[in-house]
């Protein structure tokens, strides 16, 4: 059995990604998974490879928690494929991959519906104070205090919603909020010829013209802190911001400051600049909704993800085109 394993295509699994517990039993007959758990072992990749991995590694499987820098990639001279379990690729040095001829596969549009559902869930929650009310009832209702004293929320239907990033997730968010009679406005890298929603090339101008911003774009050099103090102030008092993209899209310090000073109405965040650390001040606020980067984590998505990861690995080792290849920058 051990000998047979040696002839299976090798995949270095870093983390491991959450889906690996499900993936491994299903596909260990097809791939030789080599485990590298940097957090559990406090071991650097360099040390691990030197002491525990005498093989050449053609493929690596990781999640968005692990940063594949150029330095790390250089430790794997035979690497030809990176598979990430995330839709986002900001944790991978894509330029280095292109330079080395390493292919990259990500999750494509697999999670788009779940992430869009989460964006809408967070938006309704922060506007209508769902989590706050549930929390209040569970902790204070023992006195049976009258309910008409509960603070009112803000109406969502018919409001103007600014979407930052009209990719797969952004379009699903737009479709959902459209059915609430919301007016959709957007900012994206380029204006999209196929949609009729009003396009704003300036994020500040977009923020000025909407009641809530939903951030769903990819994180890269151009979009880092795309939501800065100027944008937040332009959005203004009583208005809301939702982030299901990456923490780095928002200047978190400024967001906390603006929330503290009442410059905006509230925020609902699935992602943070330094996960899993969430500023203590945020954790104490009543007009925010916080979730632990789980917009894509549904039971349904997990099964689909396992299939996709295995499919990409299989395709690669059979010299076929990847199912969800990532376009690498020049």
């Amino acid at each position: 059995m051990a000998e047979k394993k040696q002839t299976l295509p090798r995949v270095l699994v870093v983390g491991p990604p959450t889906c690996f517990a499900t993936l491994q039993p299903l596909y260990s007959h097809k791939f030789h998974f080599i485990h590298f758990e940097p957090y559990a072992l406090s071991l650097s990749l360099q040390n691990f490879l030197h002491h525990h991995c005498p093989f050449s590694i053609p493929a690596i499987l990781c999640s968005s928690n692990y940063s594949l820098s150029a330095h790390l990639l250089r430790l794997l001279p035979d690497l030809r494929l990176v598979v990430t379990t995330s839709a986002g690729t900001d944790h991978i040095d894509l330029r280095e991959c292109r330079r080395r001829g390493i292919q990259v596969a990500a999750a494509g549009h697999l999670f788009s519906q779940d992430v869009a559902d989460m964006a809408v869930a967070l938006l309704i929650d922060v506007m209508r104070k769902i989590s706050a009310a549930d929390r209040c009832l569970r902790t204070h209702n023992l006195n049976n205090t009258p309910w008409d004293l509960f603070t009112f929320g803000s109406k969502l239907s018919g409001k103007r919603i600014g979407i930052i990033g009209l990719g797969s997730v952004g379009m699903e968010v737009a479709k959902r909020l459209g059915s609430f009679g919301c007016i959709i406005l957007y900012n994206s890298k380029h204006k999209k010829a196929t949609v009729s929603y009003p396009f704003y090339s300036s994020v500040v101008e977009l923020a000025t013209n909407c009641d809530a911003l939903v951030v769903c774009c990819a994180l890269n050099e151009q979009t880092k802190h795309i939501i800065n103090r100027e944008v937040i102030l332009a959005l203004g008092k009583g208005r809301f911001i939702v982030n299901v993209g990456r923490g780095g899209l928002i200047d978190e310090k400024q967001l906390v400051k603006c929330l503290r000073e009442g410059e905006i109405g509230g925020a609902a965040l699935d992602v943070f600049e330094n996960e899993p650390y969430v500023p203590e001040e945020l954790r104490a606020m009543n007009n925010v909704v916080l979730s632990p980067h789980c917009a894509a984590f549904t039971a349904e998505s997990l099964m689909n993800l396992c299939e996709l990861v295995a499919g990409n690995l299989e395709a690669f080792f059979l010299n076929k085109p990847l199912i969800t290849p990532v376009m690498l920058p020049e």
Partner: protein, 310 residues
């Protein structure tokens, strides 16, 4: 108009109370444990809400009562038969709160299936450092069953369709031109949907429309959303089913005996509990108040009522 007596039987938003005070001689029921006869004889209108209206006893005690104007769309707290008999007009606040309640219904579904309240608690308690949150249930594409395809039911359906949810419904009579699948009884509806939403008026017929049989038909992978009235649901049965795991979860904006919430629910993570906030935004409550005021004004000027039920 100041000599017209108006009896306020429930707490309403300050804006409405102030306007009523300005325009009429306003009596607040909580200030009069025993309403003196001379006041009772001057009262020509009652203003109530979802939790308090006008029963037969109150109507009898107000011989000059002409109109009951409810600060709600549901009028189950008003004895409509007695009002009809005595020619007393009844108005409510339809349409202006439809979107608000429908928005909240979807919010409840999402919060329940995606465990938003638990996610929020998880982060606030600092548990994320210990590990990822667990998997939740996808909402998009789940079948939504609606009891009562009126204004609110239709608005819920329209929103759920934005999430690719197939829609089915039960109502007293099948709606011939509806594109949604009709089921002739609630048990069948519950057996054929993932998420069951109560969106019908509370009447004698719909009291405890959600009973043990319906709950069992909905099942351990099914979810109940109540944005109607607490008495639509046999609350004891619901609590028991949730504790036993016979029902997947419940999102409740209303309870049988508000503001009492069964304590057993506080420890459950597959419920979302809200303090009857279906129409709870300033915008909507103002619009509802304007309807109450508009109906009263129209009545006392002898003009057609804006939103009469009786």
């Amino acid at each position: 108009m100041e000599s017209i007596g108006v009896l306020l039987v429930a707490q309403v938003i300050p804006y409405l109370e102030q306007e009523l005070e300005k325009r009429y001689k306003l009596f607040r029921v909580w200030e009069y444990p025993q309403l003196p006869i001379e006041h009772a004889n001057s009262i020509r209108a009652v203003v109530g809400n979802a939790s308090a209206g006008a029963n037969a006893a109150l109507i009898e005690a107000l011989p000059k009562l002409e109109i009951v104007s409810s600060f709600s769309v549901g009028v189950d707290m008003i004895d409509l038969d007695t009002c009809k008999e005595k020619g007393i007009r009844v108005t409510n606040t339809p349409d202006v709160l439809t979107e608000e309640v429908a928005d909240l219904s979807i919010g409840l579904m999402l919060a329940l299936l995606r465990r938003i309240c638990q996610c929020d608690r998880y982060v606030r308690a600092g548990n994320w450092k210990k590990g990822d949150f667990k998997l939740t249930t996808k909402f998009s594409g789940k079948t939504v069953g609606i009891i009562g395809l009126g204004r609110i039911g239709e608005a819920v359906a329209k929103r759920a369709e934005g999430f690719n949810c197939p829609i089915c419904y039960y109502s007293r009579t099948e709606k011939r031109d509806s594109k949604y699948k009709y089921y002739p009884n609630v048990v069948e509806l519950a057996s054929n949907c993932d998420i069951l939403v109560v969106a019908c008026p509370l009447t004698k017929e719909t009291h405890h429309i959600i009973n043990r049989e319906v709950i069992n038909a909905l099942g351990p992978k099914g979810y109940l959303i109540n944005i109607g009235r607490g008495k639509h649901v046999d609350e004891a049965e619901l609590v028991s089913a949730l504790q036993d795991g016979r029902l997947g979860g419940a999102g409740l904006d209303v309870f049988e005996n508000e503001p009492v919430v069964p304590e057993e629910l506080f420890g459950l993570e597959n419920v979302v509990l809200l303090p009857h906030v279906g129409s709870g935004t300033i915008e909507t409550r103002h619009a509802m108040a304007d309807l109450v005021l508009g109906n009263l004004e129209a009545h006392f000027l002898g003009k057609p009522l804006l939103t009469p039920l009786v």
